[in-house]
Symmetry: D3
Subunit: 72 residues, 6 copies
């Protein structure tokens, strides 16, 4: 019965990446909580950069300043 919602900025997430997220989270929940995978729902919601604020600034503004969210 688990339901998982992933919100992420819309910055070119591919169909294959979405599939990896869905499969990975479903497997994780099955492993950790012993849940039947056919009961797990995962919803991905991409958010426009103007619509996500971080530290009081739109992410679109942060990106224009060269600030990314990538792993260093």
């Amino acid at each position: 019965m688990p339901y998982v919602k992933i919100e992420v900025t819309r910055e070119g997430v591919t169909r294959a990446q979405k599939q990896q997220l869905i499969a990975g989270i479903t497997n994780l929940i099955t492993d950790v909580l012993d849940k039947d995978p056919s009961l797990t729902q995962v919803v991905i919601q991409e958010i426009e950069l103007d619509d996500w604020g971080f530290a009081g600034e739109q992410v679109s503004v942060l990106r224009e300043k060269g600030i990314t969210a990538q792993k260093k």
Copy 2:
């Protein structure tokens, strides 16, 4: 004051169907909880088939395999 969010895959839900969902849920809450209908908010969010995962698979993949969510 109730707030209801409905998430459903984007597969051709019509304006009339949305109106039926909104009216039906508002009436149900009024009947069951005796709430003033003018205080009930209903939000429908359609989710792309690539963005909904079920049993570890994207719904878009399930649909390609001929698996539907229709009542049998």
Copy 3:
């Protein structure tokens, strides 16, 4: 695959009322969208009166003033 979240103030909703909401919404979605009821998830979340704001006021304050959400 539909997922429905109902947020309502915590004011004595009974187990039977919750069951009526769950059955009613599941039936509505089956009727309107022709979805297999075994794919519909409904989650009810009760919110404390101090935690819900309406028109800029906590609902707990509105209730102290005798303002209710009941159908007239």
Copy 4:
């Protein structure tokens, strides 16, 4: 760590208005809860008028009847 989600009907909210909402909410949370602003996330989600129901009616229908949400 606060996370704030704002859902609003899609009726011409500008980029500058979104920035005002993000900055205003981040400042409010910093002032009231003494939280580091760099830990506050704000997400704005615009909802189509057909997808928001109020008092059992789609907002698109209410707007056609001349009913607005503007401050009087």
Copy 5:
């Protein structure tokens, strides 16, 4: 019609602070979007420290290490 959800760790937020958040956000939305304040709903949800993860760690663990979210 705006609906706002605030999620914050459960660390002693008082009733008065909640009222300040509710009033502040309602005023902000009225000012920025010219919305009738009686249509704005704000819901606050406090999350237990074991249930919030940041940078891959439970906030309860971060707090045990002396890491806070306070403004410096």
Copy 6:
């Protein structure tokens, strides 16, 4: 910046299991989307069995009938 919400029935999820979910999802998002883990937030929300409906029934009723969500 990703934000992840996990909703799961309240059936004895331990602190260690929550930590595994938080670490696992943060690592998955870092691996798949190359996101800085210090920007990923994960929130777990446990839902009472009376408050989750599946196939039109409360999960509490399903459990009384001996129907579980465990992996077979």
